[in-house]
């Protein structure tokens, strides 16, 4: 679904502040995968995702998304943006319409869909993110913070993109709001076979959801593997400004003290299961 070949990106090339944000990235992501992207501030995550819908063009290398070659000059980037939905950080600041309905309808309208189809999509998207129908006729600015965030995400969903990219969709939300949005995204991913890329600073969230985790560090791909294998590298992750979920630190500590627990435990349920087995098992 997504293919990057030798992709580099240099900011202010040739100038005194020249900075290489991405250095020779090679990646392949399959249709329907749920990818978590982690990395410290400045590691290149945001540059990477902005390239995937053509907001930035690589300084060198090739990018193919959903069968479209983004680096080909003949490609119409407008079409690409309908296929690749990008939810930026704090997307609620981008709400602008008179009503929530109109705001969510903005994307589908630009795609040239007819009114019935637009209405269908808006209602579906609103329902998917958990916005009550009566909110659709309100001004987006009368919504609560969490509702605004959902309306903004619905605006991207209404375009029914094949690839959905979210840059920290839960920043600033409380734990219940965070879990609800993440659960909705996971649910959509499963029902619509959407390819999802989720950028997050929360290792716990990424651990819960992702099939594979892409770890970025100083413009390079540091790791790209299953959560279990990625979270085995607690020391390395900490060196590059990241960490592992608390449960991973606990089970790692216990293993060092001799408990028979496997490496890379990253969810509470798995930890409870493994610890219970060890404590109830037949000796060592």
């Amino acid at each position: 679904m997504i293919k990057l070949r030798n992709v580099s990106y240099v900011y202010m090339q040739g100038g005194p502040f020249e900075k290489t944000a991405l250095d020779n990235i090679n990646l392949e992501i399959d249709r329907g995968e749920f990818i978590g992207i982690i990395g410290h501030t400045g590691s290149g995550k945001s540059t990477l995702i902005q390239m995937l819908n053509g907001l930035l063009k690589p300084s060198s290398g090739g990018i193919e998304v959903a069968g479209v070659n983004l680096t080909d000059k003949k490609t119409n980037l407008r079409d690409v943006r309908f296929k690749v939905g990008l939810v930026m950080q704090y997307p609620e600041y981008q709400l602008f319409e008179e009503t929530v309905f109109k705001d969510i309808a903005f994307g589908p309208k630009n795609m040239g869909l007819d009114d019935d189809e637009i209405k269908k999509r808006v209602e579906f998207a609103a329902n998917t993110v958990g916005l009550a129908p009566e909110l659709l006729e309100k001004s987006p600015f009368d919504l609560s913070g969490g509702q605004m965030r959902r309306a903004a995400i619905a605006g991207v969903l209404a375009m029914e993109p094949t690839v959905l990219i979210l840059d920290e969709p839960t920043a600033g939300l409380d734990p219940a709001g965070r879990d609800e949005i993440l659960y909705k995204i996971k649910d959509m991913h499963e029902r619509m076979n959407m390819t999802v890329l989720l950028v997050s600073h929360s290792m716990e969230d990424v651990a819960k959801l992702a099939d594979r985790i892409l770890v970025m560090n100083s413009g390079h791909v540091e790791m790209f593997d299953t959560p279990e294998r990625v979270f085995k590298n607690a020391d390395r992750l900490s060196e590059i400004g990241l960490n592992v979920p608390q449960v991973t630190r606990i089970t790692d500590g216990l293993r060092k003290l001799g408990m028979p627990l496997h490496e890379g435990i990253y969810t509470i349920n798995d930890a409870v299961y493994c610890i219970t087995n060890a404590l109830r098992g037949e000796g060592r």
Binding site: G172, D174, G253, M259, I268, T276, L279, R284
Partner: protein, 288 residues
């Protein structure tokens, strides 16, 4: 210890001009915070915690009831500067809090506005930057710093006023894990070493664990108030309030629920490891 922040039956409401609807955000908050305390305030979005924080330096004043800081009634408009000088605020987005092109100018902004003599400003800026471990960056451009560094500069800007209280409203929401660690350890150090009273509003439970006291707000009221080891083990109550507990606490809670004899009040990774490893040692001893 003496009381430095006092809220008595604090109520706050606002009226929507178009619909004339009145929204009651704070429905009677009463609390005493002692000088030198480090208090974490938790609550879901809309629980009233940010509104409460804004009452601490008179960004908002009560509709009813009373708030006093350092003995000053925040509703006294003549004392506004006095209050703002004593209570410093740090917000979520570091980029919105930067006003200058050079770090030390940014930190000097408040004392300059207070019209202090040059030498005094110099002393305060140097002290403030040292307190957040950013002295080496005094001549840097703020926009080139990492998120955690920017937030530490924002904290230094507050410290330059030499306040008695620092209020932080979700200061780590936009930061990566390393940035979060930097900011929280800075706050903890200011509290321990400079004895500064700190009020930290956060959605991250592991940050609240390092506070002396945790206050939980729900629908405009304080519903829980205690030391972290009293609050977090109430896992189901916390979930019902839309909140979390640290994974260490939740793990201990679930093991206890499955019948293991484990202290349910653990809060940190290390405590959790030592509790479970004791169970393990007992088991291995019994097997031998």
């Amino acid at each position: 210890m003496d009381t430095i922040i006092k809220a008595e039956n604090l109520k706050f409401e606002y009226r929507n001009d178009e619909t004339d609807e009145v929204t009651e955000v704070l429905k009677g908050v009463s609390i005493d915070i002692k000088r030198g305390e480090f208090v974490a305030v938790l609550g879901h979005n809309g629980s009233g915690k940010s509104t409460f924080a804004k009452h601490l330096n008179a960004i908002l004043t009560p509709t009813a009831g009373r708030v006093s800081v350092c003995g000053i009634d925040t509703a006294d408009e003549n004392k506004l500067f006095e209050i703002r000088r004593r209570v410093g605020m740090v917000f979520q987005n570091p980029d919105n809090q930067m006003v200058a092109n050079i770090v030390e100018d940014d930190v000097a902004f408040a004392p300059e506005n207070l019209g202090m003599p040059r030498e005094e400003i110099r002393r305060r800026v140097d002290n403030a930057l040292a307190a957040v471990n950013m002295s080496a960056f005094s001549k840097h451009a703020p926009h080139m710093l990492s998120g955690g560094q920017k937030q530490r500069i924002a904290i230094a800007g507050v410290l330059a006023m030499e306040p008695e209280i620092i209020v932080l409203d979700e200061p780590t929401a936009m930061l990566d894990p390393a940035g979060r660690r930097e900011v929280i350890s800075t706050v903890r150090r200011l509290n321990r070493e400079l004895k500064m009273t700190a009020v930290l509003i956060t959605h991250y439970m592991d940050e609240a664990v390092s506070a002396d006291r945790v206050i939980v707000m729900d629908s405009g009221r304080i519903v829980m108030d205690g030391v972290p080891s009293q609050i977090f083990p109430q896992v189901e109550r916390m979930h019902s309030l839309g909140l979390d507990t640290p994974q260490a606490t939740e793990l201990a809670y679930l093991l206890k629920k499955s019948g293991f004899n484990i202290d349910g009040t653990v809060l940190t990774v290390d405590d959790c490891i030592s509790e479970i490893s004791e169970l393990w040692r007992n088991k291995v001893g019994a097997d031998d």
